[in-house]
Symmetry: C2
Subunit: 390 residues, 2 copies
């Protein structure tokens, strides 16, 4: 082992060897060689990605700011790298394709929590900090909670409380229930959506009402399978067949029968429909619309990010919504529907908007650039939160 190729540069070789042993023991994998810095965001917003793989034949970068995978080149240490950009400021998922194998960036702590794929996150800061940036403002807190859920299982929640929540012991708050997409987990709105920082910043600018945000795990069937045994079902984004509706209703039941009572018991909430909003992305948006249209007595504010229900399902399952639009419009303080023009759900979402229009159900809509991405989700959250509870 050459001194310069060991993990901690400029250390005596004996320390390096010890540390390589440490790597082997802790990771049950070979020592990693030189210390790799990745990603490195440069002042001009170009980014260098690096990946150590002396034996690999090909390494590519897959990221949502490039249309196609970008090849990396290898140096004499076996470190592959590429510099791309300048990149438009935002937070992007990315991964490496190493001889066709998809891997997270081992050198990067920031990750995308998901049931099915593993991606890292790169944060390109703006010249003025973006709405999701970590700024020197008062910070709320993120809390991980367990709650008694369906079928005797224990559910998990991530909860945002605004700055000052612990100090203002008599103040009660409205609650926004926020559900992430297919294969996402209860952590995704926190770790990828940076919902806590968006709220901190909106609140610091006086642009939003202080609120609690509750982020549940939408895949009830998967949790039951994990804790009770049995098959783990996939839970696709858009379907209006009986199975999908059953699953959406299973989540709606969990929400109304377990999650909301748990939150109302354990947090200082304003426990009524006027102070309860629901929103979600992708599958979570479908679950949002189904839960809201099925429980107008529970929610008055509704945000569907990159999602819709089909006119067929609306007619079949929620005829009350369109039967008396004046009443619906009076009950719903906000119905917000958004989609990106490159989203694969674009057409369905437009059809949903047309349907609502044809039935005189009022809604606000937002059509943006981009696709079915968490860059868009962050923008939608930042745009809708200021509208809630006003």
């Amino acid at each position: 082992m050459k001194r310069m190729s060991c993990i901690f540069r400029k250390r005596p070789w004996i320390v390096s060897c010890l540390l390589c042993c440490f790597c082997i023991l802790v990771q049950a994998q070979p020592p990693r060689g030189p210390l790799v810095i990745s990603p490195e965001v440069h002042p001009d917003r170009s980014v260098t990605f690096r990946y150590l793989a002396p034996q690999a034949r090909q390494v590519k970068l897959s990221t949502q700011f490039e249309k196609a995978a970008v090849p990396l080149t290898k140096n004499e240490q076996g470190i592959w790298s590429v510099t791309v950009g300048p990149v438009k400021p935002d937070i992007y998922p990315y991964s490496f394709q190493v001889d066709g194998v998809t891997v997270m960036d081992p050198a990067n702590v920031a990750f995308f929590p998901n049931e099915r794929f593993k991606a890292s996150l790169v944060d390109i800061p703006g010249e003025t900090p973006l709405i999701h940036a970590l700024k020197e403002v008062p910070h709320g807190t993120i809390t991980y909670e367990y709650y008694p859920s369906t079928a005797g299982t224990t559910g998990s929640l991530v909860v945002y409380t605004p700055p000052g929540y612990d100090q203002k012991s008599s103040q009660k708050y409205p609650v926004y229930y926020l559900i992430s997409g297919t294969t996402d987990t209860e952590e995704t709105f926190f770790k990828v959506g940076r919902t806590n920082l968006i709220l901190d910043n909106l609140l610091a600018e006086g642009k939003a009402k202080p609120m609690i945000i509750v982020m549940p795990y939408g895949n009830v069937a998967a949790r039951e399978a994990e804790q009770k045994g049995g098959p783990k079902p996939a839970d696709p984004t858009v379907r209006d067949d009986a199975d999908a509706v059953n699953r959406a209703n299973a989540f709606g039941d969990d929400l109304t029968r377990h999650i909301i009572p748990y939150i109302d018991k354990n947090y200082r909430t304003l426990p009524n429909r006027e102070n309860r909003a629901i929103g979600g992305f992708s599958r979570g948006g479908g679950q949002t619309l189904r839960a809201a249209f099925g429980h107008l007595d529970t929610f008055a504010w509704v945000c569907a990010y990159s999602s819709y229900l089909s006119p067929q399902e609306m007619e079949r399952s929620y005829p009350a919504i369109t039967r008396n639009p004046a009443q619906t419009n009076q009950q719903l303080k906000l119905l917000w529907v958004s989609v990106g023009s490159e989203d694969f759900l674009y057409k369905g979402t437009l059809e949903f908007m047309e349907y609502l229009k044809s039935k005189n159900v009022q809604f606000k809509s937002r059509i943006t650039d981009g696709g079915h991405t968490w860059m868009n989700v962050k923008a939608y959250v930042a745009e809708t939160v200021p509208l809630l509870f006003q």
Copy 2:
């Protein structure tokens, strides 16, 4: 694309195609093919690991319950699999080696937060639930906090509060500061160490005092580099050169000047040395010993998990500890030092124990089987927490 090879089985092909588009858009990577369940823990505690890679030439499993990597075999769908065990109940890190490339298990949500490597976690339950199992007992909460830290940076903390903390608004609690190892993050004691569940279970059994546990990020230099620019230094496990001591002191400063005041201000603590413990694993254990021996006025309970200081550093930096052992023994309510017999720090830790003994400094010690692993850390936490604040 064949219908049966698409991601969501038994769905009409048009839905499958849409979902493959979804995969491409969201992940910027190719569709994944059949739904893979991994890991699957069987009733006899054998485990099947699966990984989808039709093009791979070789896939191996690396895990801390096997001495060497275990080869997987491929089926006609391109899914590699292997069944191993029965495995001794515990939580183990593992990863796949795909043509020599280390990857997390894409089908598994449970991950090992770390600066440098990416591993998944497999949980083998015991016939009677282990001390870290999710049980139907009252649960405390985990909170992610930001605090104003060194050099104008914003630090991050994970905080455990015991069940009932929010209800018993007049009760004050002792605090255990718990620091994770080299390349770990503030999440590792939560996500890998399951410290919250261990506490929930010990408390439910009446075996521990209710306490707050504060889990900081030990790599102050890395955070400063990330937020302020500059090189990101590695921070190795065991060194007593000036650089390592400076870094340990930087963390100790952050702890005593920023973290403890922040916690004492924002949580209902008993803010005195008798109600303050400090412990850590590996590098965090070294930081623990340095912080404690440098601040006996701040901490009265000290736990070093798989870590030590050299006699040379003890003599040079903490002569007061051994100069008057009777006073040290009176001040330290607990000094606990542990190590596994296969740990690469075994010899150094034994030397540390011998040194303390020779100087008549009292301590409790625990030598276990196993190596420098989080299986041992969980056992050490479960053994020491009942000793604290009693």
